[in-house]
Symmetry: C2
Subunit: 242 residues, 2 copies
Amino acid sequence: MSKFPILEIFGPTIQGEGMVVGRKTMFIRTAGCDYQCSWCDSAFTWDGSAKEEIEMLTTEQIMDRLKEVGKDRFDHVTISGGNPALLQNLNQLIDALHACDLNVALETQGSRWQPWFLTIDDLTISPKPPSSKMQTDWEMLDKIIASLTEENRLSHLSLKVVVFDQEDLDYATYIHARYPEVSLFLQVGNDDLSEIDPEQLAHHLLSKYEWLIDQVMLSNTLNAVRVLPQVHALVWGNKRGV
Amino acid sequence: MSKFPILEIFGPTIQGEGMVVGRKTMFIRTAGCDYQCSWCDSAFTWDGSAKEEIEMLTTEQIMDRLKEVGKDRFDHVTISGGNPALLQNLNQLIDALHACDLNVALETQGSRWQPWFLTIDDLTISPKPPSSKMQTDWEMLDKIIASLTEENRLSHLSLKVVVFDQEDLDYATYIHARYPEVSLFLQVGNDDLSEIDPEQLAHHLLSKYEWLIDQVMLSNTLNAVRVLPQVHALVWGNKRGV
């Protein structure tokens, strides 16, 4: 039985962003990423700073931990990272979650394909815009979107682009033109990961959010889109594990 | 051709709440309501204070106005009120919107049934909790939910309950138990409609939102739910027409 590198299991809390924003969920955070985004808000998953906290857990151990932490207060589990799409055998965990009547959400950047993408209830593909300093693998992203489309998974799929500046917004506009049939969520980037006062951060992020709304409202190519803040950052600031 | 009592046509802006929170949309606000909720944030639709602003418009006039105001910058229209379900012939407008490839969202409290509910892309039924001082017509709500369920409209439907206090939360819990198959959104009530400083209001509403999240996380009967703030109130405060 496979073991998976796990950094955090916490909840229930709300999903703070994207296609099921506000959803009551448990979080499982996997360690390891093939990206190193300049503004990553979970850099501890790949920069070595939390490597002592990584536990190698089997599906059974993860299921036990979920029940221990979340008790009977959840029916939805979100797998985040890092990039959980690095884990080839993650279908074992996903199948076990489904066998317990739990819905499964997962977020990945679209740099790797896994066949188990087809079984995720709420799949967010979040390609990274220029401000991240990462390069998009368009061939891979095309393959992922095409495979999911062919298998009638569009109602379970969204694209999410984090936007920090105009160049990122242009990237999001291009993404929308390239994959017009996929639900697109634009999300305000959090450019102040060191602010420890949630109220100050909320004020700052809301003004950035208003900027993003204004830009999208002026566009005639970004119509079928949703523009969201990270509501968890508005409530809890930069705190981990909430 | 029918004329409809219209109070506002504005946008594009974002939908600030509920099942398509963040969606770029135009708003059409109809005048008139069969309820007078104690905390209504659009009381001008029924309390007579804006009666001089009501225009009786045909579908064609509304379509013209939408294009004049929103230009080519929208593909989604939200009909709100007041209670638009008072308008029997609203199917004329909805059909015209659909004929222009526009998606249509509508919000109503579930006190009236209209056959055109079956054609709404994003239908929010928002029964009012005890703090509103209104009485829920359970027979009517049962009929509405049953009709939409029978016609396979569940993917286009959500229930939304605004929560101000524990009694409202108990009401939401009862709603979820009565209609477990319908997506349920819990929304923080705005109990300060006189605050004019958006920053102060955001701070206040975020602390209320955190309270609501905490309560829902402790519950083992409110699992398949989404808990949201009104993001427009966080950004723009109590301002009208945004």
